[in-house]
Symmetry: C2
Subunit: 193 residues, 2 copies
DNA sequence: GTCGACCGTTGATTTTTGTCGACGGTTTTT
DNA sequence: AAAAACCGTCGACAAAAATCAACGGTCGAC
């Protein structure tokens, strides 16, 4: 079941892994099965693991002072789920990461990951490339948030992430886009052009 | 004039630089002086350089289809100015990076940076740490954008970046926060608590 | 099979924010 | 020194989106 992860590393590092490296990775990333509604991370805890999603879907959200949920990330296969700040600093997180479907993950702790990075250059390179792509994606999301209307943001979301709309309930997508669920419902109803 | 950069690398990589490393860095990062209103990057061009700001201030923005300017980043001393996507992929950028004051930079090309990273581990480590901090900062900005009102976003901005309010005109800060300049003017007028 | 959560939808209304036009005070340019 | 550009502010109004309340459908738990 580690194949998707190994492929992923090769793809993004643009290099090959030796058999020994593959074995080290397979040993370090432990499989974890989660049922729908289980938490990979709960508010107040340290984000102990980074999880690579093999099969399933998750969402990351926080609860504000008024008790309202705000979705900050949606994850499906081949995404990395963790609260980066908490995972790196080992500080308590304000976020929850919850399985939206029954989900299979490969998980690793910070200490294990640091060790593995010392031994496997391709992993370091993969992480660097992911950081870059992630920074670019976040920049685009910020651009959309500061300059587009709710409708434009939704259309862009559907265009860029067509699979997500089928996997997550509509009110969570609305939250992810920063709009009320009723507003999203009305946007979808009205004939776009 | 390279001292701030060398200090910066030591600080974030948590390691020391040898004399030889310092010399390599000093040779690779070239000083560039820019007058207010000059461009480090213009829309349509490749973001050829990454610039480390020694003295001064810059802003990164783009012009939308309606001809309106949207500020996506504000930079002051000890910030890195570049369009990451364009710099990394060598593709044309949609952004402009303009000096808001007379500014002194240290600039480096992608090819030079790649070479330098092969020779200086502390530089690689510094970039990794910066990527982390940057990802965390962007995540917070996204959280604020999807869940806070204009007034809350402004207060958070003032709290987290107190120096910026003095360095940039108010309408640029409004744009950065994703609100109309008139709205920001009204927020400031009204007695906050 | 029934009950209760969850989910999406709709209408009515309120709140927030944007747009437009105008004005006076600076600063910059010529 | 005059002209032009820039900047923040304000009022009136329009548009966008949030909020509140209610309803019917689906699905899972018991």
């Amino acid at each position: 079941m580690h194949r998707p992860l190994l492929d992923y590393i090769c793809q993004y590092s643009k290099s090959f892994l030796t058999i020994e490296e593959e074995e080290m990775i397979t040993k370090a990333f432990r499989p974890k099965k989660m049922r729908k509604r289980q938490y990979l991370l709960q508010e107040g805890n340290v984000s102990k693991y980074t999880g690579f999603i093999i099969k399933g879907a998750m969402r990351q959200y926080y609860i504000d002072e008024k008790g309202l949920e705000h979705v900050v990330y949606l994850f499906i296969e081949n995404y990395w789920a963790t609260d980066r700040e908490s995972f790196y600093n080992l500080t308590p997180s304000i976020y929850n990461i919850e399985a939206s479907e029954n989900t299979e993950l490969l998980i690793i702790t910070r200490a294990e990951l640091v060790e593995l990075m010392k031994k496997i250059p391709a992993l370091v390179e993969m992480i660097r490339v992911m950081d870059d792509r992630n920074a670019i994606a976040m920049q685009k999301r910020i651009s959309a948030n500061i300059s587009n209307t709710a409708e434009e943001r939704y259309e862009e979301f559907i265009k860029n992430y067509p699979h997500f709309a089928q996997r997550f309930p509509q009110h969570q997508i609305a939250s992810f886009l920063g709009i009320a669920k009723e507003t999203l419902s009305r946007i979808k109803r009205k004939p776009s052009r």
